[in-house]
Symmetry: C2
Subunit: 246 residues, 2 copies
DNA sequence: AACATCATTATGTCAGGACAAAGCCTTGAC
DNA sequence: GTCAAGGCTTTGTCCTGACATAATGATGTT
């Protein structure tokens, strides 16, 4: 009677079982096999048919609940959220975002130099004043249109940017390649008028509204590894956020 | 040698054990008892001293990892993130946010009426065109300053707003009181110029930059229950988002 | 002195079971 | 016919136990 998708797990795979299940469920949802509002089979039965334990099955479902794709209700069941927007913000650089969107971006590096940390950078990166930091300033293009102006500061002790080509790969890709794993980022999103400098670089008028994002990123040791001040053209960019309660 | 905080659990309390532990750990972190960069006691030992099982202890730590307060690294341990900004966005209404901030806000209700759903609302709320929806329009003040202009649409079948006083409580509080539990919200944040209408209401100039937030919210049955279009004065409001990888 | 190997430590994954609590529906009393 | 009581389903919480895997530092070899 039910058209519930057939799930499979490969126990010889290095991919965790809960992740395998979560991926298949997610694909079923975005592909429309599981329709918005539909109730999925209960945890116990699902674990049973897959030969998994209930905690493992539960962990799989939990990842999709955290992503905002499913909602659970005690005594009732688990249902697909009735939403058509499925993309959520992941912790990636803008570069990855745009590549995923199909349009190949490119980057103009305006500045890349080693400077002494000013007060702002020292506070955000938890450094002593005067410690060496990288100062990076870039303009991101999509096609021929400038999209964002990005100013970043990174502790020089973390990574050596002198040899990298930031016009080809994103900052986060470079960090990954250097063995730095970004785990947490705090972002503050707001808006303000463009300065004349920003307006010139972004092909806008002075005073036009810009979307601003200030970010501090941390690695898997809890160290602050990057602080950034980005401004975006709001007609070309927006932030997608999914909030989940409980 | 270590000044690790003493944790306690009350097994007679209805509050889940993992939640009790998570709360105490979080308080220790924000109070500075656990300092940024500090490594916390490993899961097994911590579970042991509290008389808990490891999964329960792990669940407690996981909530703080998801909040961006802790980072875990296999083979190494769990450390406090070196950040000073600790507040994160929860899934609450603006009202709750501001109340928590100490400043008592008030609200001016410009419009509250039952209309036939237009195409936009029908799509976002998954309704048939012409279905009755509530149209709400409000201005939120902080002190004497207007902060935000909020337009919302809600299916009339979900809640009866004709009897409520939205100038006293927030929309989400009213939904809770009506037995509707908001679980998931998708938000899109961007920016644009103020229209003359918005400028007049928000005490700004026409064309000045505004922070925009478009939201669709879902309840614990996965139903779309609210869609909102809010504009904020960027000098008075910003969004804080914490992203966590893995 | 440089390098590979191994042991240690901590988190990551998974099993299988138990009871609690919330929602919903059926049943039964009035 | 209405309402309350009780039973069923399903998720929420918690337990004990086990092995896998990544990171680190110590050890031993060349």
């Amino acid at each position: 009677m039910s058209t519930f998708p057939t799930l499979r797990v490969d126990r010889s795979s290095p991919v965790p079982l809960y992740h395998q299940v979560a991926e298949q469920l997610e694909r079923s949802i975005v592909d429309g096999v599981l329709k918005p509002g539909e109730r999925i089979v209960n945890e116990v039965a699902l674990a049973d048919t897959l030969g998994l334990s209930r905690p493992t099955m539960r962990q799989a479902i939990s990842t999709l609940v955290d992503k905002g794709l499913l909602v659970r209700k005690r005594g009732v069941g688990t249902q697909v959220v009735q939403s058509q927007i499925r993309r959520s913000v992941e912790l990636t650089s803008l570069n990855d975002d745009l590549l995923a969107g199909g349009r190949a971006p490119h980057t103009l590096v305006l500045r890349l130099e080693l400077i002494e940390s000013d007060e702002t950078a020292s506070r955000q990166l938890q450094l002593a004043a005067g410690d060496p930091v990288w100062a990076v300033e870039r303009v991101r293009f999509v096609g021929d249109e400038p999209l964002a102006l990005m100013c970043n500061r990174l502790p020089a002790s973390i990574v050596d940017l002198s040899v990298v080509d930031l016009s080809l790969t994103g900052l986060y890709a470079q960090l990954r390649a250097s063995g730095v794993h970004v785990r947490v980022a705090h972002q503050t999103i707001s808006s303000r008028r463009a300065t004349s400098y920003e307006a010139r670089l972004l092909n806008e008028r002075k005073g036009s509204p810009l979307l601003t994002m200030d970010r501090t990123a941390f690695d898997d040791k809890g160290r602050a590894i990057e602080s950034g001040s980005h401004v975006y053209r709001p007609d070309l960019y927006s932030f997608e956020v999914t909030l989940v309660d409980r």
